[in-house]
Amino acid sequence: MVQFIIRKIAAGLVVLCAISFLTYFLLYFSSSNIARNILGEYASQEQVAQKETELGLDQPLPARFLDWAGHSITGDFGRSWFTGEPVATAIATRLPITLTLVIAAILLIAVLATVLGMAAAVKRGWIDRVVQTGAIVGDAIPGFVLAIILVTLFAIQLKLFPATSSIAPDAGASAWAASLTLPAIALVINGVTGGAQQVRSAVIKQLERDYVRTLRSRGIPEREILFKHVLRSAAPTGLTVLSLQFIGMLGGVVIIEQIFALPGIGNLAVQSTTMGDIPLVMGVVLYTVVIVIIVNLLVDLINGWLNPKVRVS
């Protein structure tokens, strides 16, 4: 078990290094005018050159990357080139908003997709048709279109929720909930419809297995078969889908945060990328990759716990 975790973490570290280098490499090519952008239109060429030296922009790519990597290993991610805000602080203030949103959405997806998927698999009939059609429709509607529809309907017409975030430190839990409800729904719909479809097929597959027939023949109640045995065997499929959705959501949340003006990581990513604020972009990338690695690890561990066969491989 310990060996399994260590192997996973080591693989994660390799991915982390590869992604940071690749990102840095890509940013390098769009960094030619950063000093000018920081100093503004009226700065002299000398000032620009001085700033470039100060930021190390005059160094070759490998030297710049190693300098950044060296500091990052010690936990020093530097400061934003444009605002001077420490990268760690910038991320620490925005991460809770994004994570609250994404985790809330994932939990909702997990519950709703399981309930709908199982209902469709067991009852079949109209529920099944609704779930099947929903999967197609849900996949076809992009999250941002849904977000705009939700805002128009629930914020502008009915005035039930704020159209843009009103999260503030002194705002309290109800303001958080109100601000996050519409974005969470916009994120959840695709996941629920897609997830329900996956759970449905996994459960149907399990229900056709011999062990279910055996259990039934031994007179075990249908409910117990379903929840104790079938669901447990079908869970790995669901979990894998869920983890993929979680990772996909870290991308989808970028657009959702723009529409709802949520001051989260996605918003920070968009702003820092358009400005070419390399320390901030790198910070966002690192944190996101770490989150992805942790989620994957957790899913592997849960799968192992649910199904001992996975642990061995």
């Binding site: 030619s32 002299s44 805000e85 705009i148 805002v151 704020p162 159209a163 999260i167 003006a261 070419g276």
Partner: protein, 510 residues
Amino acid sequence: MKFGPKAAGAAIFLSAALALTGCGGGGSATGSGNGGAATTSLTIAELGDLPSFDPVDAHIGHTMPYYQAVYDTLLIRDADGTISPMLAAEKSWNADNTVLTLKLRTDAKFTDGTPVDAAAVKANLDHFQQAKGRDVYQVASMASVAVVDPSTVAITLSTPDPAFEYYLTQAAGFVASPKAIGTPGIKTDPVGSGPYKLDTASSVKGSQYVYTKNPDYWNKDLQKFEKVTIKSLPDITARTNALVSGQIDGALLDPKTGKQAEGAGLVLTKSEVDWHGILLYDRDGKINPEMANVKVRQAINYAFDRKTILDQQFLGQGTPTSQVFGPDSGAFVADLDNRYSYDPAKAKQLLAEAGYPEGFTLKIPTMAGFEALNAVYSQQLSDIGIKVQLESVPQANYVGDMAAGKFAAATFQLYQGEPWVAINQMISTSALYNPFKSTNPEIAALVEEVHVGGENSSELAKKVNTYVTENAWFAPLFRLNQMYYTSKKITVEPQLQQAVPSIYNYAPAK
């Protein structure tokens, strides 16, 4: 949405009951603005976050209101562009316009209790110059600041600067407490003498800043609200939604989103701030030898059907023009507006006279937001024989690439500032938007006249305007309307040459 008769009846009863209690209550202090007392709070949205509250980081344009709420400036620029006293009650220049003496008002105090005096002003100006922030060019001509007496400062310039008073109404004019300047704390917790104080507990970086009335403020006329909230909403959809849903009272939209706002009953305030067009940089023919010929540059000017492009691309929100100076800049020459009317035949003739009857190829950059416009411009130029090659440039590199002289011409949008500001932005040899440093004795002499012109500098700038228009240094197409929408709870006065109004321009609707 449809209600049954019972629900409708209940709603009527309820609203009648509310109306009655409202009448009987006798003037509540915190009216909501729905036909009752005037509102006491203002919530507006800006297009972006500010880097920090350090005045050194202040930058002309969209982020100014964030600073204006907490800091006073030495001079204030009224909505119509007139420069009036603020912290400096009186100003006077010496004979050759190189020493500006400011007499400060004595009743202003910073929110930490320190008085606003000559030493504080000197400390701020010196710090602004040394810290080399984004707008440090505003004090480029400043040689020294002297404390004459506790309420008088004398600013000596190394060379006359016709825009210096204007700069003292902008970033260079912000005065922060001398105890706070240069400390890291000022970045998030500003200490100024302004009409409002920042409420750090309710503010979130990157999202919103909340301000409350400064109880000790010297000018109650500038404190029209108990509470001011400025939200950062870079996304135009988010801005429109926030405005239409009533979450905010004012924001800058564009012609397309404006339709939606008008449908929701919001009030439009228009002002022409930017000019949009093509900057014909390569007047010496370094990249495109053809561009060195004035007839070629004039031909380009004749190629555009400005009115139609404006109607189609900007829903008619603006005015076609052939000059780069705005109507309120002082350097405006009315006749120049129609100098180059749409005339492709004349354009072809000019190209032929210049020796290019077959036209030539011109490479111009394009970026996100300019694609549709550049497609139209390419089409119009190809009609007169100029083949345009569009090269995509990342947004962050666009200005830098232009400034580095990588393109002979480029589509852009610039604000129409004070004449001296505008000259140093795109005409003088040190201007960023004059990448090839185009000059000749004639224009250099005209620019110098403005430089030393003192009070006549605006009038003298008309000659510069005429020169660059006649010699087709640019291909200006139109002055665009900035479309600022407000709710009925407040009123706003547009600020000259600013896309967003200054914080002082808002008032509760009566």
